[in-house]
Amino acid sequence: MSKAVVEALVVRFPGDAYDPYAGPGGDDVVFVRKERIAEVCRYLKEDPALDFRLAPYLTAVDYLGEEPRFEVVYALYAPSRNHRVRLRVKVPEGDAVVPSVTGVWRGADWFERYCWDMYGIRFAGHPDHRRLFMYEEFVGHPLRKDYPLRGRQPLTPERDVPDLFRGPGPGPREA
Protein backbone atom coordinates (compact mmCIF):
# COMPACT_ATOMS: atom_id res chain seq x y z
CA MET A 1 0.00 0.00 0.00
CA SER A 2 2.89 2.32 0.74
CA LYS A 3 5.11 0.88 -1.96
CA ALA A 4 4.77 4.08 -3.98
CA VAL A 5 6.25 6.08 -1.11
CA VAL A 6 9.30 3.86 -0.89
CA GLU A 7 9.77 3.97 -4.66
CA ALA A 8 9.47 7.76 -4.65
CA LEU A 9 12.19 7.90 -2.02
CA VAL A 10 14.53 5.72 -4.02
CA VAL A 11 14.02 7.95 -7.07
CA ARG A 12 14.35 11.19 -5.12
CA PHE A 13 17.45 10.13 -3.14
CA PRO A 14 19.36 7.79 -5.48
CA GLY A 15 22.05 5.93 -3.57
CA ASP A 16 20.98 7.37 -0.23
CA ALA A 17 17.70 5.45 -0.03
CA TYR A 18 18.42 1.92 -1.15
CA ASP A 19 17.33 -1.72 -1.04
CA PRO A 20 13.56 -1.27 -0.58
CA TYR A 21 11.70 -4.44 0.33
CA ALA A 22 8.35 -5.59 1.64
CA GLY A 23 8.73 -7.17 5.06
CA PRO A 24 6.46 -9.70 6.76
CA GLY A 25 2.84 -8.58 6.82
CA GLY A 26 3.45 -6.24 3.86
CA ASP A 27 5.38 -3.52 5.71
CA ASP A 28 7.28 -1.28 3.30
CA VAL A 29 10.85 -0.79 4.39
CA VAL A 30 13.79 1.05 2.90
CA PHE A 31 17.37 1.57 4.03
CA VAL A 32 18.63 5.14 4.25
CA ARG A 33 22.20 6.32 4.54
CA LYS A 34 22.73 7.93 7.90
CA GLU A 35 24.10 11.25 6.63
CA ARG A 36 20.87 11.98 4.72
CA ILE A 37 18.29 10.76 7.22
CA ALA A 38 17.20 14.22 8.38
CA GLU A 39 16.73 15.38 4.79
CA VAL A 40 14.81 12.25 3.88
CA CYS A 41 12.54 12.77 6.89
CA ARG A 42 12.00 16.41 6.08
CA TYR A 43 11.07 15.49 2.53
CA LEU A 44 8.66 12.81 3.75
CA LYS A 45 7.00 15.25 6.11
CA GLU A 46 6.85 18.31 3.92
CA ASP A 47 6.04 16.92 0.50
CA PRO A 48 2.25 17.37 0.28
CA ALA A 49 1.86 14.10 -1.64
CA LEU A 50 3.52 12.16 1.19
CA ASP A 51 2.51 14.14 4.29
CA PHE A 52 4.12 12.05 7.04
CA ARG A 53 3.09 14.48 9.74
CA LEU A 54 2.77 12.15 12.72
CA ALA A 55 6.01 12.02 14.68
CA PRO A 56 7.57 8.61 14.18
CA TYR A 57 8.53 5.90 16.60
CA LEU A 58 12.29 5.48 16.80
CA THR A 59 14.23 2.64 18.21
CA ALA A 60 17.66 1.12 17.80
CA VAL A 61 18.97 -2.42 17.45
CA ASP A 62 22.40 -3.75 18.35
CA TYR A 63 23.50 -6.37 15.80
CA LEU A 64 26.61 -7.32 17.73
CA GLY A 65 29.15 -9.06 15.50
CA GLU A 66 27.84 -7.53 12.29
CA GLU A 67 29.29 -4.57 10.55
CA PRO A 68 27.93 -1.88 10.84
CA ARG A 69 26.93 -2.81 14.35
CA PHE A 70 23.89 -0.61 15.10
CA GLU A 71 20.73 0.25 13.34
CA VAL A 72 18.24 3.01 14.04
CA VAL A 73 14.69 2.29 12.90
CA TYR A 74 12.08 4.94 12.12
CA ALA A 75 8.44 3.81 11.94
CA LEU A 76 6.58 6.57 10.13
CA TYR A 77 2.91 7.12 9.51
CA ALA A 78 0.98 9.56 7.31
CA PRO A 79 -2.52 9.96 8.77
CA SER A 80 -3.99 11.78 5.78
CA ARG A 81 -2.80 9.15 3.27
CA ASN A 82 -2.84 6.14 5.60
CA HIS A 83 0.69 5.30 4.48
CA ARG A 84 3.16 3.59 6.72
CA VAL A 85 6.84 3.08 5.98
CA ARG A 86 9.86 2.07 7.96
CA LEU A 87 13.33 3.53 7.48
CA ARG A 88 16.37 1.57 8.61
CA VAL A 89 19.63 3.40 9.12
CA LYS A 90 22.88 1.52 9.57
CA VAL A 91 25.15 3.08 12.16
CA PRO A 92 28.77 1.92 12.57
CA GLU A 93 30.12 1.63 16.09
CA GLY A 94 33.12 3.86 15.38
CA ASP A 95 30.93 6.75 14.22
CA ALA A 96 27.69 6.33 16.17
CA VAL A 97 26.32 9.79 15.47
CA VAL A 98 23.09 10.24 13.54
CA PRO A 99 21.59 13.59 12.49
CA SER A 100 18.69 14.38 14.81
CA VAL A 101 15.16 14.57 13.41
CA THR A 102 13.87 16.65 16.32
CA GLY A 103 13.97 19.60 13.91
CA VAL A 104 11.44 17.80 11.72
CA TRP A 105 9.15 16.43 14.44
CA ARG A 106 9.42 17.65 18.03
CA GLY A 107 7.97 14.29 19.08
CA ALA A 108 11.23 12.53 18.19
CA ASP A 109 12.85 14.09 21.27
CA TRP A 110 12.43 11.36 23.86
CA PHE A 111 12.91 8.51 21.41
CA GLU A 112 16.33 9.83 20.47
CA ARG A 113 17.24 10.28 24.11
CA TYR A 114 16.16 6.69 24.64
CA CYS A 115 18.50 5.50 21.85
CA TRP A 116 21.38 7.41 23.42
CA ASP A 117 20.62 6.10 26.88
CA MET A 118 20.14 2.47 25.92
CA TYR A 119 22.47 2.04 22.94
CA GLY A 120 24.93 4.92 23.09
CA ILE A 121 23.99 6.38 19.72
CA ARG A 122 24.36 10.15 19.59
CA PHE A 123 22.04 12.47 17.72
CA ALA A 124 23.71 15.53 16.28
CA GLY A 125 21.60 18.63 16.81
CA HIS A 126 19.40 17.26 19.60
CA PRO A 127 18.46 20.15 21.91
CA ASP A 128 18.47 18.25 25.22
CA HIS A 129 20.78 15.31 24.83
CA ARG A 130 20.50 13.65 28.25
CA ARG A 131 19.81 10.08 29.22
CA LEU A 132 16.13 9.25 29.41
CA PHE A 133 15.73 6.46 31.97
CA MET A 134 19.11 5.97 33.60
CA TYR A 135 20.95 8.54 35.69
CA GLU A 136 23.85 10.56 34.33
CA GLU A 137 26.45 8.71 36.43
CA PHE A 138 25.47 5.36 34.92
CA VAL A 139 28.34 3.79 33.01
CA GLY A 140 27.59 2.03 29.74
CA HIS A 141 24.40 1.47 27.76
CA PRO A 142 22.19 -1.32 29.11
CA LEU A 143 20.51 -2.56 25.94
CA ARG A 144 23.78 -3.19 24.12
CA LYS A 145 24.22 -6.91 23.65
CA ASP A 146 27.56 -6.84 25.47
CA TYR A 147 26.09 -5.25 28.59
CA PRO A 148 25.64 -8.08 31.11
CA LEU A 149 22.07 -9.05 32.01
CA ARG A 150 22.88 -8.98 35.70
CA GLY A 151 25.23 -6.03 35.49
CA ARG A 152 25.45 -4.16 38.78
CA GLN A 153 26.85 -0.71 39.31
CA PRO A 154 27.92 0.81 42.61
CA LEU A 155 25.68 3.35 44.26
CA THR A 156 26.67 6.85 43.32
CA PRO A 157 27.34 9.13 46.28
CA GLU A 158 24.71 11.71 46.95
CA ARG A 159 25.78 15.07 45.64
CA ASP A 160 24.85 18.62 46.39
CA VAL A 161 22.22 19.91 44.07
CA PRO A 162 23.60 23.13 42.69
CA ASP A 163 20.59 23.77 40.52
CA LEU A 164 17.33 21.97 41.18
CA PHE A 165 15.95 22.77 37.77
CA ARG A 166 18.83 21.12 36.02
CA GLY A 167 19.21 18.34 38.50
CA PRO A 168 22.07 16.90 40.46
CA GLY A 169 25.47 16.03 39.18
CA PRO A 170 28.17 17.90 37.37
CA GLY A 171 27.52 20.34 34.57
CA PRO A 172 26.13 19.26 31.20
CA ARG A 173 28.10 16.55 29.44
CA GLU A 174 30.44 17.65 26.75
CA ALA A 175 28.73 16.92 23.45
Binding site: G25, L54, R86, R106, G107, M134, F165
Partner: protein, 414 residues
Protein backbone atom coordinates in the same frame (compact mmCIF):
# COMPACT_ATOMS: atom_id res chain seq x y z
CA UNK B 1 -13.14 70.29 84.11
CA UNK B 2 -11.23 68.65 81.38
CA UNK B 3 -9.59 69.92 78.28
CA UNK B 4 -11.43 69.18 75.15
CA UNK B 5 -9.51 66.57 73.16
CA UNK B 6 -7.57 67.74 70.19
CA UNK B 7 -9.46 67.32 67.03
CA UNK B 8 -8.24 64.27 65.09
CA UNK B 9 -5.81 65.20 62.33
CA UNK B 10 -7.37 65.17 58.97
CA UNK B 11 -6.65 61.90 57.12
CA UNK B 12 -4.17 62.24 54.29
CA UNK B 13 -5.77 62.56 50.91
CA UNK B 14 -6.32 59.13 49.33
CA UNK B 15 -4.02 58.50 46.37
CA UNK B 16 -5.68 58.05 43.03
CA UNK B 17 -6.86 54.47 42.58
CA UNK B 18 -4.31 52.01 41.23
CA UNK B 19 -1.23 53.89 42.46
CA UNK B 20 -1.18 53.10 46.21
CA UNK B 21 1.32 50.97 48.06
CA UNK B 22 -0.95 47.94 47.82
CA UNK B 23 -1.09 48.23 44.07
CA UNK B 24 2.66 48.46 43.59
CA UNK B 25 4.03 45.51 41.61
CA UNK B 26 5.52 42.93 43.91
CA UNK B 27 9.15 42.23 43.55
CA UNK B 28 8.50 38.82 41.98
CA UNK B 29 10.98 36.04 42.11
CA UNK B 30 10.87 32.85 40.14
CA UNK B 31 10.53 29.78 42.24
CA UNK B 32 11.37 26.20 41.42
CA UNK B 33 9.03 23.54 42.75
CA UNK B 34 9.83 19.89 42.62
CA UNK B 35 6.84 17.58 42.25
CA UNK B 36 7.47 13.91 42.73
CA UNK B 37 8.88 11.38 42.06
CA UNK B 38 6.80 9.99 44.92
CA UNK B 39 3.78 12.20 44.78
CA UNK B 40 0.23 10.87 45.07
CA UNK B 41 -0.80 12.71 41.93
CA UNK B 42 1.95 11.45 39.67
CA UNK B 43 0.37 7.98 39.25
CA UNK B 44 3.60 6.13 39.38
CA UNK B 45 6.90 7.79 39.83
CA UNK B 46 7.45 10.78 37.65
CA UNK B 47 9.40 13.83 38.68
CA UNK B 48 8.18 17.18 37.44
CA UNK B 49 10.40 20.16 38.14
CA UNK B 50 8.50 23.35 37.50
CA UNK B 51 9.77 26.89 37.39
CA UNK B 52 7.05 29.18 38.62
CA UNK B 53 6.32 32.84 38.36
CA UNK B 54 3.61 33.24 40.97
CA UNK B 55 1.23 30.46 40.00
CA UNK B 56 2.15 30.42 36.35
CA UNK B 57 4.37 27.72 34.95
CA UNK B 58 7.31 29.26 33.10
CA UNK B 59 9.31 26.14 32.51
CA UNK B 60 9.21 22.49 33.33
CA UNK B 61 11.30 19.41 33.10
CA UNK B 62 9.96 15.91 33.19
CA UNK B 63 12.26 13.34 34.66
CA UNK B 64 11.27 9.71 34.24
CA UNK B 65 12.98 6.42 34.83
CA UNK B 66 12.25 5.85 38.51
CA UNK B 67 10.08 2.90 37.54
CA UNK B 68 12.39 1.60 34.81
CA UNK B 69 12.54 -2.17 35.07
CA UNK B 70 14.49 -3.03 31.95
CA UNK B 71 11.46 -4.40 30.09
CA UNK B 72 13.28 -4.82 26.78
CA UNK B 73 16.40 -6.34 28.29
CA UNK B 74 14.33 -8.84 30.27
CA UNK B 75 12.32 -9.82 27.21
CA UNK B 76 15.45 -10.45 25.15
CA UNK B 77 16.47 -13.12 27.62
CA UNK B 78 13.32 -15.23 27.81
CA UNK B 79 11.41 -17.26 25.21
CA UNK B 80 8.72 -15.61 23.10
CA UNK B 81 5.97 -17.15 25.20
CA UNK B 82 7.51 -15.98 28.44
CA UNK B 83 7.30 -12.36 27.31
CA UNK B 84 3.53 -12.25 27.93
CA UNK B 85 3.71 -11.77 31.71
CA UNK B 86 6.05 -8.83 31.17
CA UNK B 87 3.59 -7.22 28.77
CA UNK B 88 0.82 -7.40 31.39
CA UNK B 89 2.83 -5.06 33.52
CA UNK B 90 3.23 -2.37 30.89
CA UNK B 91 -0.13 -0.74 31.13
CA UNK B 92 -1.38 -2.50 34.23
CA UNK B 93 -4.79 -0.87 33.98
CA UNK B 94 -5.48 -2.56 30.64
CA UNK B 95 -3.22 -5.58 30.76
CA UNK B 96 -4.70 -7.78 28.05
CA UNK B 97 -4.46 -5.05 25.42
CA UNK B 98 -0.69 -5.32 25.70
CA UNK B 99 -1.00 -9.10 25.38
CA UNK B 100 -3.01 -8.65 22.20
CA UNK B 101 -0.54 -6.14 20.76
CA UNK B 102 2.42 -8.39 21.37
CA UNK B 103 0.69 -11.55 20.13
CA UNK B 104 -0.36 -9.82 16.91
CA UNK B 105 3.18 -8.60 16.28
CA UNK B 106 4.61 -12.10 16.75
CA UNK B 107 1.90 -13.58 14.53
CA UNK B 108 2.66 -10.99 11.87
CA UNK B 109 6.26 -12.16 11.88
CA UNK B 110 5.19 -15.83 11.77
CA UNK B 111 2.51 -15.23 9.14
CA UNK B 112 -0.03 -16.87 11.41
CA UNK B 113 -3.76 -16.16 11.46
CA UNK B 114 -5.81 -17.23 14.42
CA UNK B 115 -9.33 -18.74 14.42
CA UNK B 116 -12.38 -16.49 14.40
CA UNK B 117 -13.47 -17.23 17.93
CA UNK B 118 -10.05 -16.38 19.30
CA UNK B 119 -10.17 -13.08 17.43
CA UNK B 120 -13.56 -12.24 18.91
CA UNK B 121 -12.35 -13.18 22.38
CA UNK B 122 -9.34 -10.92 21.97
CA UNK B 123 -11.58 -8.04 20.97
CA UNK B 124 -13.87 -8.70 23.93
CA UNK B 125 -11.08 -8.58 26.52
CA UNK B 126 -9.44 -5.61 24.81
CA UNK B 127 -12.58 -3.56 24.83
CA UNK B 128 -13.45 -4.52 28.41
CA UNK B 129 -10.01 -3.36 29.37
CA UNK B 130 -10.38 -0.18 27.34
CA UNK B 131 -13.45 0.56 29.46
CA UNK B 132 -11.42 -0.10 32.63
CA UNK B 133 -8.63 2.15 31.47
CA UNK B 134 -10.87 5.07 30.53
CA UNK B 135 -12.86 4.68 33.76
CA UNK B 136 -9.67 4.84 35.78
CA UNK B 137 -8.58 7.96 34.00
CA UNK B 138 -11.97 9.66 34.36
CA UNK B 139 -12.24 8.77 38.04
CA UNK B 140 -8.77 10.03 38.82
CA UNK B 141 -9.45 13.19 36.86
CA UNK B 142 -12.60 13.79 38.89
CA UNK B 143 -10.74 13.12 42.10
CA UNK B 144 -8.03 15.58 41.22
CA UNK B 145 -10.58 18.26 40.47
CA UNK B 146 -12.34 17.71 43.77
CA UNK B 147 -15.09 15.35 42.62
CA UNK B 148 -14.42 12.41 44.89
CA UNK B 149 -17.85 10.88 44.21
CA UNK B 150 -16.85 10.30 40.62
CA UNK B 151 -13.87 8.31 41.76
CA UNK B 152 -16.06 6.01 43.84
CA UNK B 153 -18.50 5.41 40.97
CA UNK B 154 -15.67 4.82 38.52
CA UNK B 155 -13.87 2.37 40.74
CA UNK B 156 -17.08 0.48 41.41
CA UNK B 157 -17.69 0.07 37.69
CA UNK B 158 -14.11 -0.97 37.11
CA UNK B 159 -14.26 -3.54 39.87
CA UNK B 160 -17.36 -5.15 38.33
CA UNK B 161 -15.45 -5.53 35.08
CA UNK B 162 -12.37 -6.81 36.87
CA UNK B 163 -14.57 -9.48 38.47
CA UNK B 164 -15.54 -10.69 34.98
CA UNK B 165 -11.92 -10.59 33.83
CA UNK B 166 -10.88 -12.52 36.93
CA UNK B 167 -13.33 -15.27 36.00
CA UNK B 168 -11.74 -15.33 32.59
CA UNK B 169 -8.03 -15.05 33.38
CA UNK B 170 -7.66 -15.83 37.05
CA UNK B 171 -6.05 -12.52 37.91
CA UNK B 172 -7.67 -9.27 38.83
CA UNK B 173 -4.95 -6.84 37.82
CA UNK B 174 -2.29 -8.50 35.69
CA UNK B 175 -4.75 -10.39 33.53
CA UNK B 176 -2.96 -12.68 31.15
CA UNK B 177 -5.24 -14.13 28.56
CA UNK B 178 -3.68 -14.08 25.11
CA UNK B 179 -1.11 -16.48 23.67
CA UNK B 180 0.67 -16.64 20.36
CA UNK B 181 -1.78 -18.44 18.09
CA UNK B 182 -4.92 -17.84 20.10
CA UNK B 183 -6.13 -17.29 23.63
CA UNK B 184 -5.57 -19.23 26.83
CA UNK B 185 -9.06 -20.57 27.48
CA UNK B 186 -12.65 -20.31 26.37
CA UNK B 187 -15.38 -18.39 28.17
CA UNK B 188 -16.67 -19.96 31.39
CA UNK B 189 -20.29 -21.06 31.37
CA UNK B 190 -22.76 -18.20 31.67
CA UNK B 191 -20.00 -15.61 31.36
CA UNK B 192 -21.48 -13.83 28.36
CA UNK B 193 -24.83 -13.22 30.10
CA UNK B 194 -23.10 -12.02 33.27
CA UNK B 195 -20.93 -9.70 31.22
CA UNK B 196 -23.96 -8.13 29.59
CA UNK B 197 -25.39 -7.45 33.06
CA UNK B 198 -22.07 -6.00 34.14
CA UNK B 199 -22.02 -3.78 31.08
CA UNK B 200 -25.52 -2.54 31.94
CA UNK B 201 -24.38 -1.59 35.43
CA UNK B 202 -21.18 -0.03 34.08
CA UNK B 203 -23.21 2.01 31.61
CA UNK B 204 -25.40 3.30 34.48
CA UNK B 205 -22.36 4.32 36.46
CA UNK B 206 -20.76 5.88 33.39
CA UNK B 207 -23.86 7.96 32.75
CA UNK B 208 -23.88 9.02 36.41
CA UNK B 209 -20.29 10.15 36.13
CA UNK B 210 -21.09 12.01 32.94
CA UNK B 211 -24.11 13.65 34.53
CA UNK B 212 -21.97 14.76 37.46
CA UNK B 213 -19.17 16.21 35.38
CA UNK B 214 -20.07 17.12 31.81
CA UNK B 215 -22.25 20.16 32.62
CA UNK B 216 -20.70 20.87 35.99
CA UNK B 217 -19.73 24.51 36.23
CA UNK B 218 -16.60 23.95 38.29
CA UNK B 219 -15.45 21.07 36.15
CA UNK B 220 -15.98 23.02 32.94
CA UNK B 221 -14.18 26.08 34.25
CA UNK B 222 -11.25 23.99 35.31
CA UNK B 223 -10.92 21.99 32.09
CA UNK B 224 -12.14 24.04 29.12
CA UNK B 225 -9.33 25.78 27.33
CA UNK B 226 -6.76 24.25 29.65
CA UNK B 227 -3.71 22.66 28.05
CA UNK B 228 -5.19 22.91 24.56
CA UNK B 229 -3.16 21.18 21.88
CA UNK B 230 -3.83 22.05 18.26
CA UNK B 231 -4.19 19.34 15.65
CA UNK B 232 -0.87 20.20 14.00
CA UNK B 233 0.96 20.23 17.33
CA UNK B 234 -0.58 16.93 18.42
CA UNK B 235 0.72 15.29 15.25
CA UNK B 236 4.09 16.95 15.64
CA UNK B 237 4.44 15.69 19.20
CA UNK B 238 3.48 12.19 18.06
CA UNK B 239 0.21 11.90 19.99
CA UNK B 240 -2.01 8.93 19.24
CA UNK B 241 -5.21 7.59 20.71
CA UNK B 242 -7.82 9.67 22.56
CA UNK B 243 -5.46 12.63 23.01
CA UNK B 244 -4.84 12.90 19.27
CA UNK B 245 -8.51 12.44 18.47
CA UNK B 246 -9.47 15.11 21.02
CA UNK B 247 -7.33 17.49 18.97
CA UNK B 248 -9.36 16.70 15.85
CA UNK B 249 -7.29 14.10 14.01
CA UNK B 250 -9.48 11.03 13.40
CA UNK B 251 -6.66 8.48 13.53
CA UNK B 252 -7.59 5.17 15.10
CA UNK B 253 -5.67 2.00 14.23
CA UNK B 254 -8.89 0.02 14.50
CA UNK B 255 -10.21 1.95 11.47
CA UNK B 256 -6.98 2.88 9.65
CA UNK B 257 -5.54 -0.65 9.60
CA UNK B 258 -8.25 -2.96 10.95
CA UNK B 259 -6.88 -5.93 12.83
CA UNK B 260 -8.70 -8.87 14.44
CA UNK B 261 -12.40 -8.53 13.59
CA UNK B 262 -12.75 -4.75 13.96
CA UNK B 263 -13.72 -4.45 10.29
CA UNK B 264 -16.80 -6.61 10.95
CA UNK B 265 -17.96 -4.52 13.89
CA UNK B 266 -19.99 -1.37 13.86
CA UNK B 267 -18.54 1.44 15.93
CA UNK B 268 -17.73 5.13 15.67
CA UNK B 269 -14.56 7.03 16.38
CA UNK B 270 -15.29 10.16 18.42
CA UNK B 271 -13.25 13.23 17.51
CA UNK B 272 -12.84 16.44 19.50
CA UNK B 273 -12.15 19.94 18.28
CA UNK B 274 -10.21 22.00 20.79
CA UNK B 275 -7.79 19.43 22.13
CA UNK B 276 -8.13 20.74 25.70
CA UNK B 277 -8.70 18.74 28.86
CA UNK B 278 -12.48 18.96 28.44
CA UNK B 279 -12.29 17.46 24.95
CA UNK B 280 -10.06 14.68 26.17
CA UNK B 281 -12.70 13.96 28.79
CA UNK B 282 -15.56 13.97 26.28
CA UNK B 283 -13.71 11.74 23.82
CA UNK B 284 -13.13 9.16 26.51
CA UNK B 285 -16.75 9.19 27.68
CA UNK B 286 -17.84 8.56 24.09
CA UNK B 287 -15.25 5.81 23.65
CA UNK B 288 -16.69 4.08 26.71
CA UNK B 289 -20.03 3.95 24.90
CA UNK B 290 -18.42 2.65 21.72
CA UNK B 291 -16.48 -0.06 23.55
CA UNK B 292 -19.70 -1.12 25.24
CA UNK B 293 -21.29 -1.45 21.78
CA UNK B 294 -18.34 -3.48 20.49
CA UNK B 295 -18.40 -5.98 23.35
CA UNK B 296 -22.15 -6.55 22.99
CA UNK B 297 -21.80 -7.08 19.23
CA UNK B 298 -18.96 -9.55 19.75
CA UNK B 299 -20.88 -11.56 22.31
CA UNK B 300 -23.78 -11.75 19.84
CA UNK B 301 -21.74 -12.59 16.75
CA UNK B 302 -19.26 -15.01 18.28
CA UNK B 303 -19.74 -18.61 17.24
CA UNK B 304 -18.38 -21.71 18.93
CA UNK B 305 -15.10 -22.93 17.54
CA UNK B 306 -11.39 -23.26 18.10
CA UNK B 307 -9.76 -20.75 20.41
CA UNK B 308 -6.24 -21.35 19.13
CA UNK B 309 -4.55 -22.65 16.00
CA UNK B 310 -4.02 -26.40 15.91
CA UNK B 311 -0.35 -26.11 15.25
CA UNK B 312 1.82 -27.38 18.06
CA UNK B 313 4.80 -25.40 16.84
CA UNK B 314 3.06 -22.37 18.33
CA UNK B 315 0.47 -23.55 20.83
CA UNK B 316 0.86 -25.96 23.74
CA UNK B 317 -0.93 -29.24 22.94
CA UNK B 318 -3.91 -30.19 25.13
CA UNK B 319 -2.95 -32.10 28.26
CA UNK B 320 -4.39 -35.52 27.25
CA UNK B 321 -2.07 -35.43 24.23
CA UNK B 322 0.90 -34.42 26.38
CA UNK B 323 0.35 -37.21 28.88
CA UNK B 324 -0.78 -39.79 26.32
CA UNK B 325 1.35 -39.44 23.21
CA UNK B 326 5.05 -39.07 22.50
CA UNK B 327 4.41 -36.31 19.92
CA UNK B 328 2.47 -34.36 22.51
CA UNK B 329 5.28 -34.62 25.07
CA UNK B 330 7.85 -33.55 22.50
CA UNK B 331 5.86 -30.56 21.29
CA UNK B 332 5.23 -29.49 24.87
CA UNK B 333 8.87 -29.91 25.85
CA UNK B 334 10.20 -28.03 22.85
CA UNK B 335 7.77 -25.13 23.32
CA UNK B 336 8.61 -24.80 27.00
CA UNK B 337 12.36 -25.31 26.80
CA UNK B 338 13.22 -23.77 23.43
CA UNK B 339 10.26 -21.51 22.78
CA UNK B 340 8.37 -20.77 19.60
CA UNK B 341 10.70 -20.76 16.60
CA UNK B 342 9.89 -17.40 15.06
CA UNK B 343 11.33 -16.97 11.57
CA UNK B 344 14.23 -14.56 11.06
CA UNK B 345 13.16 -11.04 10.30
CA UNK B 346 11.95 -7.79 11.73
CA UNK B 347 8.47 -6.40 11.97
CA UNK B 348 6.57 -3.50 13.50
CA UNK B 349 3.19 -4.51 14.89
CA UNK B 350 0.77 -1.85 16.07
CA UNK B 351 -2.61 -1.88 17.72
CA UNK B 352 -4.93 0.68 19.25
CA UNK B 353 -4.44 0.41 23.00
CA UNK B 354 -6.38 2.50 25.48
CA UNK B 355 -3.97 5.44 25.31
CA UNK B 356 -3.04 5.22 21.66
CA UNK B 357 -0.89 3.28 19.27
CA UNK B 358 0.87 0.47 21.06
CA UNK B 359 3.73 -0.67 18.86
CA UNK B 360 6.12 -3.56 19.13
CA UNK B 361 9.20 -3.59 16.95
CA UNK B 362 10.38 -7.19 16.92
CA UNK B 363 13.61 -8.61 15.58
CA UNK B 364 14.01 -12.37 15.48
CA UNK B 365 17.22 -14.20 14.74
CA UNK B 366 15.31 -17.42 14.17
CA UNK B 367 15.86 -18.77 17.67
CA UNK B 368 13.29 -19.24 20.41
CA UNK B 369 14.11 -15.94 22.05
CA UNK B 370 13.48 -12.42 20.78
CA UNK B 371 16.61 -10.67 19.55
CA UNK B 372 15.06 -7.29 20.15
CA UNK B 373 11.72 -6.04 21.39
CA UNK B 374 11.16 -2.35 20.93
CA UNK B 375 8.18 -0.92 22.73
CA UNK B 376 6.33 2.14 21.53
CA UNK B 377 4.43 3.02 24.66
CA UNK B 378 1.31 5.03 23.79
CA UNK B 379 1.76 7.48 26.65
CA UNK B 380 5.35 8.35 25.86
CA UNK B 381 4.86 11.28 23.44
CA UNK B 382 2.15 12.82 25.60
CA UNK B 383 4.32 12.90 28.71
CA UNK B 384 7.26 14.16 26.67
CA UNK B 385 5.22 17.09 25.40
CA UNK B 386 4.08 18.30 28.83
CA UNK B 387 6.66 21.07 29.25
CA UNK B 388 5.56 22.67 25.98
CA UNK B 389 1.85 22.13 26.47
CA UNK B 390 1.82 23.51 30.01
CA UNK B 391 3.99 26.56 29.44
CA UNK B 392 2.02 29.53 30.74
CA UNK B 393 -0.62 27.38 32.45
CA UNK B 394 -1.38 27.48 36.16
CA UNK B 395 0.30 25.11 38.57
CA UNK B 396 -3.13 23.90 39.66
CA UNK B 397 -3.82 22.70 36.12
CA UNK B 398 -0.71 20.59 35.98
CA UNK B 399 -2.10 17.60 37.83
CA UNK B 400 -5.42 17.37 35.94
CA UNK B 401 -3.55 17.68 32.64
CA UNK B 402 -1.13 15.01 33.70
CA UNK B 403 -4.18 12.90 34.29
CA UNK B 404 -5.89 13.51 30.95
CA UNK B 405 -2.68 12.40 29.24
CA UNK B 406 -3.11 9.29 31.37
CA UNK B 407 0.51 8.64 32.10
CA UNK B 408 0.93 5.03 33.12
CA UNK B 409 4.32 4.55 34.73
CA UNK B 410 4.50 0.91 33.75
CA UNK B 411 4.55 1.53 30.02
CA UNK B 412 6.15 4.96 29.81
CA UNK B 413 9.07 4.04 32.03
CA UNK B 414 9.24 0.45 30.75
Amino acid sequence: MTDAPDPAPAPPAAPPPGTGALDAPLAGKEMVINLGPSHPATHGTCRLVTRLDGETIRGMKVDIGYLHRGFEKSCENVTWGQVFPYTDRLNYVSATMNNVGFALAVEKLCGLSVPDRAQYLRVVVSELHRICDHLTMLSAMGLELGAMTVFLYGVEARDHLWDRLTELCGARLTSNFVRVGGVARDLPEGWAEKTVQTLDRTAELRDTIDALLARNRIFMDRTRGVAAVSRADALDYGYTGPCLRASGEPYDVRKAAPYLVYDRLDFDVPVGAGGDNYDRYLVRIEELKQSDRIVRQCLRKMEPGDIAVRDFRYVLPPKPLVYGTIEGVMAHFKLVMEGIQVPRGEVYGYTEAANGELGFYLVSDGSGRPYKIGLRAPGWPMVASMPRVLEGALLADLVPTFDTFNMIGGEVEQ
